[in-house]
């Protein structure tokens, strides 16, 4: 009598018809990036002459880029670059987006006249947050002054956005 039956039973024992394994799951939650304006851009005081363009660079220095606009100097006449404070995850890098389209400054003293603000520049090409998750940068631009630009205080706003890389 062969013992095939017993042998077969031994061989078939212990074969896996099911299996399972674990996989790790991960996620990294970081501080959202924020930007606030701390200093407004200013072109200070000037006379329009026969018009032209006035630039403020990212260091806040004014210059007459074209035409014969006359810059006034002295206390209260100077220009300023806009300054922004960025906050977020320490050491992270981010892109800075300046307006691509010109922005409008509106005469608040006498209704009815505008000036166009464009060619925005920035003090840094792109950002890197410090070890405490902060960084500041400045922005300049160029203002177009018309030949009969009405006197007054002109004001407006422009958007700047930041985004993690």
């Amino acid at each position: 009598m062969f013992v095939v039956a017993a042998g077969a039973a031994c061989v078939f024992g212990g074969v896996a018809y099911a299996a399972s394994t674990d996989a790790d799951v991960g996620a990294m939650v970081v501080t959202p990036i924020t930007i606030t304006s701390s200093t407004a851009m200013s072109f200070g005081k000037f006379t329009a002459g026969t018009g032209g363009t006035v630039a403020v660079n990212s260091s806040g220095v004014r210059s007459v880029a074209s035409g014969n606009v006359q810059l006034l100097t002295g206390t209260g006449s100077d220009g300023a670059a806009a300054e922004f404070d960025v906050g977020g995850e320490a050491t992270y890098t981010y892109a800075i987006t300046l307006p691509a389209m010109p922005q409008t400054l509106v005469n608040e003293t006498t209704e009815g006249s505008n000036m166009s603000l464009g060619t925005f520049t920035k003090s840094i090409e792109s950002g890197t947050l410090s070890g405490t998750g902060t960084q500041s940068f400045t922005v300049g631009a160029t203002l177009t002054v018309g030949s009969s630009q009405a006197p007054g205080t002109y004001a407006g706003m422009f958007p700047v956005s930041v985004e993690y890389n």
Binding site: V25, G26, A27, M28, V29, P32
Partner: protein, 159 residues
């Protein structure tokens, strides 16, 4: 007096074993080769982050994905009988939670896989499974000091 010609017990077992192994079933095994990662993101006003089985990442609500922050679908290698079908079992919604620093645990749901539901081992007895899922992110989910980690179980069964 007749003579009994019977092989010794051990030799008989040896012959039987050879014959039976040739008809034996290849065990089903599964190993994990890639973890599931939702990558880096800022929670903002909350929402969700999803990784599909192709590894494509998307977000809803106020969650901002960090573009360079990756994310991967989980991948597993299954091996067993050539050309055999097997069932794939994924975790139920809300059964897996990802703790995040001192914040609320984030629940995983909507596990999906490719292949979905069941797979078919190829002529070499192999197949790769990719798994994605969705992560619920609470409002103002605080940043984690280090990567949050948990794990989930994938089960496969011959049909």
């Amino acid at each position: 007096m007749s003579m009994r010609h019977a092989l010794p017990l051990i030799a008989a077992l040896g012959l039987a074993a050879q014959g039976t192994l040739a008809a034996g079933i290849v065990p089903l095994t599964v190993v994990n080769i890639e973890p599931l990662s939702f990558g880096t993101f800022a929670a903002g006003a909350g929402g969700s982050v999803a990784i599909n089985a192709s590894g494509f990442r998307s977000a809803t609500g106020g969650v901002t994905l960090i573009a360079s922050g990756g994310g991967t679908a989980a991948r597993f290698e299954v091996s067993g009988e050539p050309n055999r079908r097997y069932a794939i079992s994924l975790p139920a919604n809300s059964s897996v939670r990802l703790a995040s620093g001192n914040g609320t645990a984030m629940e995983l749901s909507h596990f999906t896989s490719v292949p979905s539901g069941a797979g078919l081992l190829n002529a070499m007895g192999r197949q790769t499974i990719s798994v994605g899922a969705r992560l619920e992110v609470g409002t103002g989910q605080p940043r984690a000091i280090k990567n949050s980690k948990t794990n989930f179980t994938l089960q496969v069964d011959y049909e």
